[in-house]
C-alpha cells in the first residue's frame, strides 16, 4: 500500500471519524470545537484529494499515455456464491478522482462557510456531524468498486440528505420537504435496485469492471444472453440500464422525478450548496458515467432515451426558473437544468475517440458547475443571511452592502451564462458541440436553454443587487463574516479559471487523452444567445419598471403555468392522493382494518376471551366438582382400557 492508496483510504475514513466523534460526543463539545473538528477533517481531506489527484493524473495513474483504473483497496465483504460477492474497496480512475476533488473541495468550503452561516444555531454540532456523514457517504459512493457498494453509499447519501433537509425539524415545511425528498428518491432507488439485480443476475457479478467487461466485449456470452430477451422493442439489457438510470434520475432530479429538489431548499443554504447543487445531485450523472461503456457500446437506445430526458428536463426546468421569485428555488431549477445538461451530454456521446467528447464535456460541466453553482448558493446564503428572506421582493440594491458577495455572484452568473473566458463557457461549449454533431434537435434545445439560463440568472442577479436604488446609509454587512467570505472568494477563483484546465487530457471515456474541439465559429451562436439573455434581463430588471409585469400579464396562462411549476406537483398529488389513495390505499386500509386486524387479530383474541369466559366456571373452587370430574374421567378411562383389552 503506497502513500497514494493510504491517502485515498484516509479521504474516506476522515469524514467518517469526524462524524463519529461529532455524533457521539458532539453535545459535550463546544460549538467552536465541533465546527473546527469538522472543518479540519474536511480540509485535510481536500488536501489529500489534491495530492491523490496530482499523483493519479501525472504519476501513477498514467500508464503509457492512458489513464488506467487503479484499485487502491479491495476486500471481500459479503460473499453470496463463488462468483457473486459484495466487495468494498477504493477505485481510482479519471472520473472518481475528479469527483473526489470536487466533493472534498466544495465540502471543505461549505464546512468553513457554515462556521459563519450557522453561527449561534441550535444543534450546531449535529449539523456538522450530518455534513461529515454526507461527505463520507458521497466519497464512498464515488470510489465504489462494486455496484452494491455504490448502492449502500447511495442510500447513505439519501439518508444524510434527508437529515440535512429536515435540519430545521421544528418547521413543518422542512419536515415535509425532507419526507418528499426521501420518498421520491427512495422510489427511484427501487428501480436502481431492480436494475442492479438484473445486471448482476445476467453477468454473475457485482463488480463494476467485471460487469463492464462482460457486457462490452464482442462475442461475450453474457451479452448475447442479456440482449436475447427483449420487451417492448428494447433488449433486457437496455431495460436494466434504464432502471439503473431511474435511480440516477431520482437523485439527479430528472423529469419527472425532479419535484423533490426545489422543496429541498428548506434545508440550510450551505447544505443546498453542497448536496443539492454540487455533489449529491450529480450522483446520477456519475452513475451513468460509471456504466458509460455499457451504455455506449451495448445499449445505445437507452442512452438515447437518457439524452432526450436530459434535453427535455433542461428546457423544462429553465422555463420554470424564469418565473420563480424565491431565489433559492431559482437556483434549484437552475441546478436541475444544468444537471440535465450533463445528462444529455452523456446521452449524445458515443464510444470511441471521436464520439466521446460528450462524455468528457459532461464531466467537465460537472466539474465547473460544482464551483459556480456552489458559489451561487453560498452567495445566495450570504444574501439571505443579510436580509433574512428568500423572496426577491425583499431584496434589491444590495451591491453596496455586500460587495464581496456581489462580485463573486456576478462571476458565477457570468460563468453559468457561458460568457467566454469563464469556466461555464468551456464545458457548455463541449456539450453543445457534441450534441450538434450527433443530435441536432437536442443541440437546438440546449442552445435555447443556454439563452434562458443566461436570462434567469441575470434576472436573479439584477433583482438582488440592482433593481431598487441603493438605500441610503447602507453599510457593509460583510465585515465580520470572513468565514463566509473566504470560501466565496476561493470558489470564485475556481469558477473563473476552472475552464482553462485541459480537461480532455485527464478525463475521457476510454482513459486516452483527447483534445476538446474548440471552434470559434461554432461558439458564436451559444455566446450570442447568452448575451441576448443577459441583455433582456438587463432591460427588464436592472431598474425598477413595470415592463415585466406587463409581459407577465400578456402571457398570463403560460406565466402562471410556469410560476406553478407546470402543475407537476399537483399532478403527483392527484395521482398519489386521489388515484393511489382512493383505489389502492383505502381498500388496503379497509382490508387491514377489518380482515387482518378485525378478523384475525381481534377475532382470535375475542375467541380466546370468549372461550375462557365459557370455561371459567369450571374453575369453581368447589372441591367436589373437581373430584367428580376426576373420578368420571378415571372411570371412563378404565372402562375404555378394560373393554379394549379384556
Amino acid at each position: 500500500m503506497n502513500s497514494y492508496d493510504l491517502s485515498a483510504l484516509l479521504i474516506v475514513i476522515l469524514p467518517a471519524l469526524s462524524f463519529l466523534v461529532l455524533g457521539l460526543f458532539g453535545n459535550r463539545l463546544s460549538n467552536r470545537v465541533s465546527g473546527l473538528i469538522g472543518c479540519a477533517s474536511l480540509v485535510t481531506t481536500a488536501i489529500l484529494a489534491i495530492y491523490v489527484a496530482a499523483g493519479y493524473f501525472f504519476d501513477f495513474g498514467l500508464v503509457g499515455g492512458v489513464h488506467e483504473k487503479h484499485i487502491a483497496l479491495q476486500f471481500q465483504w459479503l460473499k453470496f456464491t463463488e462468483n457473486l460477492s459484495i466487495d468494498l474497496g477504493i477505485v481510482l480512475d479519471p472520473i472518481s478522482v475528479m469527483m473526489l476533488l470536487v466533493i472534498t473541495i466544495v465540502s471543505s468550503m461549505v464546512h468553513i462557510y457554515s462556521l459563519g452561516y450557522m453561527k449561534g444555531e441550535e444543534y450546531f454540532e449535529r449539523y456538522y456531524a450530518y455534513l461529515s456523514l454526507f461527505s463520507f457517504s458521497m466519497l464512498g459512493l464515488v470510489i465504489a468498486v462494486n455496484i452494491f457498494q455504490m448502492y449502500i453509499f447511495w442510500e447513505l447519501v439519501g439518508v444524510s440528505s434527508f437529515l440535512l433537509i429536515g435540519f430545521y425539524f421544528t418547521k413543518p415545511s422542512a419536515i415535509a420537504a425532507a419526507k418528499k425528498a426521501f420518498i421520491v428518491t427512495r422510489f427511484a432507488d427501487l428501480g436502481f435496485l431492480i436494475g442492479i439485480l438484473m445486471l448482476s443476475y445476467n453477468t454473475k457479478s457485482l463488480d463494476f469492471f467485471t460487469i463492464i467487461e462482460r457486457l462490452t466485449q464482442v462475442g461475450s456470452p453474457y451479452l448475447a444472453n442479456f440482449t436475447a430477451t427483449s420487451f417492448m422493442g428494447m433488449s433486457a439489457l437496455s431495460w436494466a440500464l434504464l432502471l439503473v438510470f431511474m435511480g440516477g434520475a431520482g437523485k439527479s432530479a430528472m423529469f419527472p422525478l425532479h419535484i423533490w429538489l426545489p422543496d429541498a431548499m428548506e434545508g440550510p443554504t450551505p447544505v443546498s450548496a453542497l448536496i443539492h447543487a454540487a455533489t449529491m445531485v450529480v450522483a446520477g450523472v456519475f452513475l451513468v458515467a460509471r456504466l458509460f461503456p455499457v451504455f455506449a457500446i451495448s445499449a445505445p437506445d437507452a442512452l438515447l432515451i437518457i439524452a432526450y430526458i436530459g434535453a427535455f428536463t433542461a428546457l423544462f426546468a429553465a422555463l420554470i426558473a424564469c418565473t420563480q421569485t424565491d431565489i433559492k428555488r431559482v437556483l434549484a431549477y437552475s441546478t436541475i437544468s444544468q444537471i440535465a445538461y450533463m445528462m444529455f451530454g452523456l446521452g449524445v456521446a458515443g464510444w470511441g475517440a471521436e464520439n466521446s467528447e460528450g462524455f468528457t464535456g459532461s464531466m467537465f460541466h460537472l466539474f465547473t458547475h460544482a464551483f459556480f453553482k456552489a458559489l451561487l448558493f453560498l452567495g445566495a446564503g450570504a444574501v439571505i443571511h443579510a436580509v433574512h428572506s428568500n423572496e426577491m421582493k425583499d431584496m434589491g440594491g444590495l451591491r453596496k452592502s455586500l460587495p464581496i458577495t456581489h462580485i463573486t455572484f456576478l462571476i458565477a452568473c457570468l460563468a453559468i451564462a457561458g460568457v467566454p473566458g469563464l469556466s461555464g463557457f468551456f464545458s457548455k461549449e463541449a456539450i453543445l458541440a457534441a450534441a450538434f454533431h450527433s443530435h441536432p434537435t437536442i443541440f437546438y434545445v440546449g442552445l435555447f436553454t443556454s439563452g434562458l439560463t443566461a436570462y434567469y440568472m441575470f434576472r436573479l442577479y439584477f433583482r438582488i443587487f440592482w433593481h431598487n436604488p441603493v438605500p441610503e446609509h447602507s453599510h457593509n454587512h460583510e465585515g465580520h463574516t470572513w468565514a463566509m467570505n473566504i470560501p466565496l472568494i476561493i470558489l470564485a477563483v475556481g469558477a473563473a479559471l476552472a475552464g482553462w484546465i485541459p480537461f480532455g487530457s485527464f478525463v475521457s471515456a476510454d482513459g486516452k487523452a483527447m483534445e476538446l474541439p474548440f471552434h470559434l465559429t461554432f461558439s458564436i451562436a451559444p455566446v450570442a444567445f447568452g448575451l441576448i439573455g443577459i441583455g433582456i434581463a438587463y432591460l427588464l430588471y436592472a431598474k425598477k419598471n413595470d415592463v415585466p409585469d406587463k409581459i407577465a400579464s400578456s402571457i398570463n396562462a403560460f406565466y402562471k403555468a410556469s410560476y406553478n411549476k407546470f402543475y407537476i406537483d399537483e399532478i403527483y398529488l392527484f395521482i398519489t392522493k386521489k388515484v393511489l389513495f382512493n383505489l389502492v390505499g383505502r381498500p388496503a386500509a379497509w382490508f387491514d382494518r377489518t380482515v387482518v386486524n378485525g378478523l384475525f387479530i381481534n377475532g382470535s383474541a375475542e375467541a380466546t376471551v370468549a372461550t375462557s369466559r365459557a370455561i371459567k366456571p369450571m374453575q369453581s373452587g368447589r372441591l367436589q366438582s373437581y373430584t367428580m370430574f376426576f373420578l368420571g374421567g378415571v372411570l371412563l378411562l378404565a372402562a375404555l382400557l378394560i373393554i379394549k383389552f379384556m
Partner: protein
C-alpha cells in the same frame, strides 16, 4: 353353608348398612357413630379371616384413634343437635348416578373375571411373629425401608398438624 359363611354375610350386611348410615344420616354425630360401627364390623371380617393382627390394628387405630379424633373435631366445630343441611337434588342425582354407574361397572368386571388362586403353595400364617420378622427384614422382601419411610411420614404429619392447627400469634393480635 357353613357358619363362617353365614357370619361373613351377616358382617358384610352390617358393614354396608352402617356405611350407608354414615353417608346418609343428617345428624353428624350419628354418622360418626355409624362409621365407628361399620369399621368395627370390618375388623370383625378381619378376625373372621384369621388376620388377627390387622383386626387388632383396625380396632386400635381406627376405632380408638381416628374416630375419636373425628368426634373431637365435631365437638369443636358443631353445635350439638344441629342437623346437617340438605344437599342439592341435582348434586345428589349426579353423584348418585356416578356412584351407581361405577358400582355397576365394577361389579360387572368382577363377575366377569376368573380369579386363579395360587396352587400347591404352603400358606404363611399371618401372625405377629411372621409379620414382625418380615417387617424388620432388610434382605429381599423385607419391609424395613418402607417402615422407616412411614416413620418419617408420621413425624411429618405430627409436626404438620401442629403447624397448621396452631393459632398464629399475629392473628390473635389483630
Amino acid at each position: 353353608m357353613s357358619a363362617s359363611t353365614i357370619i361373613f354375610y351377616i358382617l358384610a350386611t352390617l358393614v354396608v348398612v352402617f356405611g350407608a348410615l354414615t353417608v346418609f344420616s343428617r345428624k353428624i354425630f350419628r354418622a360418626a357413630i355409624s362409621l365407628l360401627l361399620s369399621l368395627t364390623f370390618v375388623a370383625g371380617l378381619y378376625f373372621l379371616w384369621d388376620v388377627d393382627f390387622i383386626g387388632a390394628l383396625q380396632i386400635i387405630i381406627y376405632v380408638g384413634g381416628i374416630i375419636v379424633l373425628i368426634i373431637f373435631s365435631i365437638f369443636l366445630t358443631h353445635h350439638s343437635g344441629q342437623k346437617l343441611p340438605k344437599a342439592k337434588v341435582s348434586k345428589k342425582l349426579l353423584s348418585g348416578t356416578l356412584a351407581v354407574a361405577g358400582l355397576g361397572f365394577t361389579s360387572w368386571v368382577v363377575s366377569q373375571f376368573v380369579f386363579k388362586p395360587a396352587v400347591g403353595v404352603t400358606p404363611v400364617e399371618p401372625n405377629v411373629h411372621n409379620i414382625g420378622l418380615q417387617m424388620l427384614n432388610y434382605s429381599e422382601y423385607g419391609y424395613v425401608f418402607p417402615f422407616e419411610v412411614i416413620n418419617i411420614l408420621l413425624l411429618a404429619a405430627l409436626v404438620g398438624a401442629i403447624v397448621i392447627a396452631i393459632k398464629k400469634s399475629q392473628e390473635t393480635e389483630k
